[in-house]
Amino acid sequence: MALVWENLVVGHQNRLPLNRPFSGRLEDGGIYAIMGPNGCGKSTLLKTWLGLLPPWSGHVRVNGAAPAEGTLPLAYVPQSQQVNKYFQISVQDFVLQGFGRHPPAKAEALQKVRTALVQWELSADAERSFHLLSGGQKTRAMVARAILSNPKMIFLDEPLANLDACCQQQLMDTLHVLAHQNNICVVMVDHHFEAYEKLLSARFLFERSHNEEICTVRFEPKDDTCCKKN
């Protein structure tokens, strides 16, 4: 599975673009970090790659076609405040949404969800409202939901922000296993990679000098075999 982008500029329509055009390709398993200052467009790039936002200009292709809703094995872990805070959905039902519109048989689906909840230390909270969880528990529930459907690419928006050091390590270890044993492409926006630099396959750095409004996205591969820049 390949994510390819050409002359991509991201940003909301009717507003200024957030970056200069850049091209690239993500294909093989690995952990790819998107880093940069606040408001530079990291989350917008993530959503543009996922097809949730149209490119400001340029093209994004997944397996040669424009990203289409629900047709690709992509998963997304948004920031927890994106989940409707008024909806008292139980943790179990929340994670169950990770199967999408066509879950397996009910018993099998529930068994898989319970296994995921045990793995992410949430089994005692299965019937609680998602919004009664702590920030770290919410992140773990969202990761459990995202990987339930066995995605080929997983995109995470600041997943480390609400986690303590122990949970950060657990999440990064799991993502490392997914990336290298299951050959999943893990793309993360975050500010907390200091302790995990050695786990990263490559970095996308949003950079701008003081007198510039628009960022340049610089690609920093650690291992040229896993990620290529066009």
């Binding site: 097809g51 809703e69 629900g70 997304y76 409707n84 949404q97």
Partner: protein, 289 residues
């Protein structure tokens, strides 16, 4: 005197022997059930102002219908209802589009649209000098003057709305929980986003004639405010709302108060009671800590 009235069963029996009272009872139950069905979606999507908004959005449609009936010899009631449906739907879509294109908060987009539409209706009415137009019925409702047609329309809308919420409940739930994730996972978000204003407009318009737009806003909000829903399709809120509507109807009869307002007051008292209980429970927990 109130106590005597409440326990005088012959008085109740004679009241509900009257055809208009039976129709009021039936339509109140239907409006209650309809509002209970839609309440979780309305509250979770933060669209509680939708009933009030629609009551104003349909105003120019009613006036246009009146003009059309006079100009083309159409049945007055049908032409006004058609006009109300058209401006209600157009206005609902206008609210959603303004919100997205101008990146406005939903309540600001609703207020801008409803005042614009209402102003257009007022201008149109100013051209109808010397003509009496009974518009109050649409704004404040009249549960004691409902017809078989109102009951049939309410039944149809109730069944259709119930079926759409039940059959697509996973899509509604995913959309209400996290619309972007739902879209990515292939839930029918595009369909739900088109259905939402249509379903709400149909429900509010059919309820308008019974209890009015302002009362519909309250009836759509109270059930989910009192019983926080875990799904867009909630039998708890449906049942609660139906019982609330019936209690309001009986209280209105016993106290000789307007039906719609009495139902809303009963709901509001329950909301206040819940707020007091929750507040006391929080203080008690804080004191123990």
């Amino acid at each position: 005197m109130l106590q005597e009235k409440l326990i005088d069963f012959s008085l109740w029996q004679s009241f509900f022997d009257a055809e208009f009272a039976q129709m009021a009872l039936l339509c109140t139950v239907l409006v209650g059930a309809l509002c209970g069905l839609l309440s979780p979606t309305i509250v979770l999507k933060q669209r509680a102002y939708i009933g009030d908004t629609l009551a104003h959005l349909v105003f120019p449609g009613l006036v246009a219908g009146y003009f059309a009936a006079a100009a083309f010899g159409l049945p007055l009631w049908g032409a006004m209802m058609l006009g109300a449906v058209v401006t209600g739907l157009v206005g609902s879509f206008a609210v959603e589009r303004l919100e997205r294109i101008l990146n406005l908060p939903p309540d600001s987009a609703a207020v801008l649209t409803l005042t614009g539409f209402f102003a257009a209706g007022v201008v149109a009415v100013s051209r109808l000098r010397g003509t009496r137009l009974d518009l109050e019925r649409f704004l404040f409702g009249d549960v004691l003057n409902l017809t078989n047609l109102d009951a049939i329309l309410l039944c149809v809308v109730l069944v259709v709305v119930g079926a759409l919420l039940f059959l697509l409940r996973k899509d509604w739930d995913a959309w209400l929980s996290d619309a972007e994730f739902a879209r990515l996972m292939g839930f029918r978000v595009a369909l739900i986003e088109k259905l939402f204003p249509v379903v709400v407009t149909a429900a509010v318009l059919t309820g308008l004639v019974a209890v009015g737009g302002l009362m519909m806003s309250a009836l759509l909000t109270v059930p989910a405010a009192l019983l926080p829903p875990k799904s867009a399709f909630s039998l708890r809120t449906l049942l609660f709302s139906t019982i609330l509507a019936l209690i309001g109807l009986f209280a209105a009869f016993a106290l000789d108060w307007p039906v719609g307002s009495t139902i809303v007051l009963v709901g509001f008292v329950l909301v206040l009671a819940k707020a007091i209980v929750v507040s006391l429970a929080q203080r008690s927990t804080a004191a123990k800590d």
